[in-house]
């Protein structure tokens, strides 16, 4: 049951993230501000 709900939820969430990423990327005044980041995410928080 949990998987039945989490699978579509994760799918929607990942696609929402893709839209938000474009919005964030295009919405920048300059690229510089984009690289400000949380250390916790930057160091060891990524799977690629």
């Amino acid at each position: 049951m949990k998987r039945l709900l989490f699978l579509p939820y994760t799918f929607v969430l990942m696609n929402w993230a893709a839209m938000k990423a474009l919005y964030c990327f295009l919405g920048r005044r300059s690229l510089d501000s984009l690289w400000s980041e949380s250390p916790a995410v930057a160091h060891g928080g990524r799977r690629s």
Partner: protein, 354 residues
Amino acid sequence: MAKAIFWLSFALVAYVYVGYPALLWAWSRLRPRPVRRAAGVWEPTVSLILAVHNERETLARKIENCLALDYPADKLQVVVSLDGSTDGTAAVAEAGRLQYPGLTVVEGGHRGKAAAINRGVAAATGDVLVFCDARQRVDPDALRALLEDLSDPAVGAVTGELLLLDAADREAADGVGLYWRYEKALRAMESTVHSTLGVTGALYALRRELFVPLPERTILDDMMVPLRAVLAGRRTVFEPRARAYDAVCPPDQEFRRKLRTLVGNFQLLHVMPELLDPKRNPVFLQYVSHKLGRLLVPYALIALFASNLLLRDGFYLAFLGCQSLWYLLAAGGAVLSRRPAAPIEVLQEGECPR
């Protein structure tokens, strides 16, 4: 018109999530490119680089984990590159340096992970660079597994496998865990036909000569490094025997990670436009299908649903029902996961509201 939009959107979504994996599956069986490992044992000098920021709680354990790897001590250098930590991580690293002669500690200001990696590599003496994150535990035989693949001169980089474990210490099979397993299956097939498009930051190896210092604000070092190796004419392969372990995160935390990764994909396109040149990029088809396709899918999903609202007879009505059910289940998942309204870490406050 609505039908054309419906089918074009459907085709894009179906290609990205079903067609491309099916194509890869067939390709990997018809034209596999096996890794040609060296006959004997290949034991180059290795520098294992940990770029760390505020990892006081995990660093000591990670250093022990690295030094416990099955590899001759005189050929293994562990470099801890500190990125301006403020929580006492430097003291932990210094204690480690005093305890283990094979440990090198380099320090700089807080300039981000890419800068820390650059500093770590500058202090590295090995012919092979191995990159790890501080949090994940690595199997003792993982390094040898990476090096076996790297002994093939055609291979420039090797990524290990990151296993996401649930509370019971089993590989997670729900939500994010399932999604990650799907991604790893794609990665394995991409590796079989040529190269993976990225590596896991938890564990990967690179030939020293292929490292080019990263631009300081690079978000996806674990895509830029292997893609540079591929553009330089080498392969980046996936080695599932080289394992690292991490705990699975709830979907809301994964969302922040994913958002960061996706913004990083846009950055990568900006700084490496050659990725879109099929003459220069040997994995052009994989890059467009896997990475760019994912960036386009959400708009196709919106178009698919909107056009389906205008087409409400027979097959289309049934399809609309399926779509509606899918999003209702997703809403149920959202309720179940009880997403907290945490700020997006990747972005500056106020610039990208949720």
